[in-house]
């Protein structure tokens, strides 16, 4: 349990500095049905499935080999074209996992495999059973100190309420999401007190709202591209601050911004294919920190 050794970093009471601590990750293989049937905001280029698979394998390899996480790989399910985007079906904070009720009806069955996986990790599981509630994990930004929940097409007030009920230690603020699929379509945590944010007006507006709602003061890292503002911050013992961010080939200007972070171990990740179906870096994993066996 966190917080035993030092009161100031107390685990239970909303300590802000355990952000990014991570021992386990849950990922899921991508089904071929993703190519044709994955949900997307707008029709665009076709997904190169082979390339998508390669990108995903690389992503998993980084988590597993490079960062030394214990990775649970769930098998793909052809009947669930979006199942690779595991982030949306579970929100894990400390020892508690909230199994969500995804906003897209076609994705509701994705939760089953996730629930089993998280149970196997002995997490305290809360299920969102209320039929009026919807919540995608992609709309949930945990800053280490509090939650922001984007009210989007996929996430509603009731879903946010259940999240607040689940994680009672933390303030849960709702923020409107304009023009984007998810809250994290244009922001994410890039460090313990650092919010990466895209440059579009909508993104900046949302950040303003978040700043107003918060008792804490966050630093912000503005990147030119909204999609590149979705990155993965980890704090791995022995490696320190680790940041998985979009590769320079995809978003050169944004990559330059990340490269200025001197304290971070930077790992560029290519995500060209998944982005065609609105998948960003955080979408493909659920990160868990197990400090001890229960």
């Amino acid at each position: 349990m966190a917080g035993l050794s030092s009161s100031s970093s107390g685990g239970g009471g909303g300590g802000g500095w355990s952000l990014g601590r991570c021992s386990h990750a849950v990922v899921r293989a991508l089904p071929e049905s993703l190519r044709q049937h994955a949900l997307r905001i707008e029709k665009g280029q076709e997904v190169d499935f082979a390339r998508a698979e390669r990108e995903h394998q690389l992503y998993v390899a980084v988590l597993k080999s490079k960062l030394g996480l214990q990775v649970l790989e769930l098998p793909a399910d052809e009947s669930l074209p979006d199942c690779v985007f595991v982030e949306d079906v579970a929100v894990v904070c400390e020892e508690t996992a909230l199994i969500t009720r995804p906003g897209a009806p076609s994705r509701r069955k994705e939760v089953d495999a996730m629930k089993k996986a998280l149970e196997s990790l002995n997490l305290n599981i809360i299920e969102m059973t209320d039929e009026n509630a919807t919540l995608d994990g992609g709309d949930v930004l945990f800053t280490g100190r509090e939650f922001f929940v984007g009210l989007s097409k996929r996430t509603n007030q009731r879903g946010a309420e259940i999240l607040a009920d689940t994680f009672k230690d933390y303030a849960v603020s709702t923020v409107p999401v304009y023009d984007s699929l998810h809250l994290k379509s244009f922001c994410s945590m890039a460090g313990p007190n650092l919010i990466a944010i895209g440059s579009t007006e909508a993104a900046q507006k949302t950040l303003k709202t978040m700043q107003q709602m918060s008792d804490h003061r966050y630093d912000k890292l503005t990147v030119p591209d909204d999609a590149a503002a979705n990155c993965i911050y980890l704090n791995i013992p022995g490696k320190g601050h680790v940041l998985l961010h979009r590769a320079p080939e995809e978003y050169p200007e944004s990559a330059k911004v990340f490269e200025k972070l001197k304290d971070h171990m930077l790992i560029p990740i290519t995500n060209t294919e998944m982005e065609k179906v609105d998948g960003l870096l955080t979408c493909r994993s659920v990160l868990i920190n197990k400090t001890s066996e229960l």
């Binding site: 239970g12 007030q157 009672k168 230690d169």
Partner: protein
Amino acid sequence: MMTETGPDSEVKNAQEEHPQQQLEAVATSPTTVTTGPGPMANNREAEANEKPRAQADSRSAEPGMDLEEKDYSETDGLSEKTTPSKTQKSPQKIAKKLKSAICRVTLLDASEYECEVEKHARGQVLFDMVCEHLNLLEKDYFGLTFCDSDSQKNWLDPSKEIKKQIRSGPWNFAFTVKFYPPDPAQLTEDITRYYLCLQLRADIITGRLPCSFVTHALLGSYAVQAELGDYDTEEHVGNYVSELHFAPNQTRELEERIMELHKTYRGMTPGEAEIHFLENAKKLSMYGVDLHHAKDSEGIDIMLGVCANGLLIYRDRLRINRFAWPKILKISYKRSNFYIKIRPGEYEQFESTIGFKLPNHRSAKRLWKVCIEHHTFFRLVSPEPPPKGFLVMGSKFRYSGRTQAQTRQASALIDRPAPFFKRSSSKRYTMSRSLDGEFSRPASVSENHNGGVESERRDEDGEYSGWQRSEAEDEFEEVTTPTKIKELKFLDKPEDVLLKHQASINELKRTLKEPNSKLVHRDRDRRLPSSPASSSPKNEDETPKGTPEKASESSVLKPEAATDSSVAGTKKAEPEVFVHHRVTTAETTQVDRDTTGGKETTAMSHIVTTESISVTSDHSTKPGKGMSPATELRSTSPISSSSSGKEILTSLFGATAETLSTSTTTHVTKTVKGGFAETRIEKRIIITGDEDVDQDQALALAIKEAKLQHPDMLVTKAVVYRETEPSPEERDKKPQES
């Protein structure tokens, strides 16, 4: 804490008619005892005498008299109820008892403390007795509450008579934390932290402070360590924690987890365990949030949470908006509506007002008071003096206790060996304890919620004329004569800071000189010249370290600077220290505030503002601050950062036209989530001329004209100030600086 002026003045009348009795009440000499057949009879007689006269009085007074009649009769009943305990007391005390009342105070460990206070005693007397009983020195974080006839929790105002506040209610009180210190580690004494822990444990088990299983376990385990000490294999067998209460729904699993954790704390002292407890509790999102039920403009149920940082708006458990104190320019209430006026944002030009509907007038006023108190305590250096003068409309209520800055300053001087105290059993914390559940128990009527909405009295003013005054910050619908117009201001405004500094210097001086706090007094001479920080190693965050070589006054001033800087934003305090020195020299200027009708003499203000402006360059984010000629004007121009605001300010100086001129019109339309949208038109009318101009008449004309121009709108507010011609050199300075 409903202290309407009507009833107040009425009661005062009653007192004036009975100076004799009052004297008796205070006197300790046995001679006064002989005035009646016996103590009890005498007491009854006094009551009996008082009652009809009071009634007679109130009949001649406002319609509020009904309440008063009830008050008195019920007080009679009370005195009879307390009879048995009185007779048990020693005869020595008879003289006092004549006019004393028994107070029952529920303490934080759920035990009850009983004491007698003189019947007309102010709240402070009782509060001090309780703190003495508790051996508590850092008492400013605490307060007494009582329940009113609607079972609503009210704070006992220390500066007012208890009797007037509780009205018909029983003399039962609860001792509770009023201001939750954001950083409990900064408290000086363990005993203070102990009481804070008890409060938080109560908050937790009542569900007022929600937390997760993990946190329940963690906090519970520290509570066990504090209470039972080290885990002892012989003593602690079985489920030794099951008698203690830690959570609203305590499970066996939770108890097991607590015991597991408890075993790992060996060697931790109770005081350390409590620090750990508080360090974790303070991070909880609902720590120190005082919730009030309300509705937004669309009639949706929301909660308003008042806390150290500002006002939080919740819908169900979700935070939907937040207004930090610096963002709020003014708070007010009218009838059952509660309003906050918001400083314009970065890209907005104008301020906006957001309204909320409270269950009734009293709850609106209660919320307003709690806001004033929290703002003063956490944001200001010293309390603002209550508005003076008969022209003041609205409530004269202000927080009169010490602010956090002052209490830290004072407690830095505490110099006593750590008092011994027994940590009482938390067994007493049963669920039956009638604290208020908020979120967790939505079904229950919580403290500040009144199920029934008080009948809407549109013509409330007429019915309770006495209330007109007590209705603070009201926006007056009818502006009849200009002399009546005076705006009360909420204070998170830079322009008020200077005045406050002055007041705070005086206040701090007083605090340190007067034996109000004996401990402070005791060591003053020895300690004062040294830095407060050095005398209290814990006092490290906001209180800047004083420099030892400075005179006592400068060390007094430092924490002020700290708070001031937080008022102004996130700036650090150091550069501003000098400002306060300067202000000190301009002592006389403070008087401006108290001149009648908000009319102020400009020349004097200039001294203050000019002085300060030369130093506080880091306030430049708020142009206009300190530059306008009169405080009142500045307070109405928080938007002075926008160009239009500035123009107005400068045009005041430049205006030489002999006639009336309307200088500007601004529109505000804004919708804020969780509130109303309002359209607001502000007009600034500058009347310039020499002494002969009938300014009152000119203003009346101008208002009339404004009404004609916008027949569908209300004149809600008019602010009048008068300035005299600034001296030429002053005038020259101004434009340069703005």
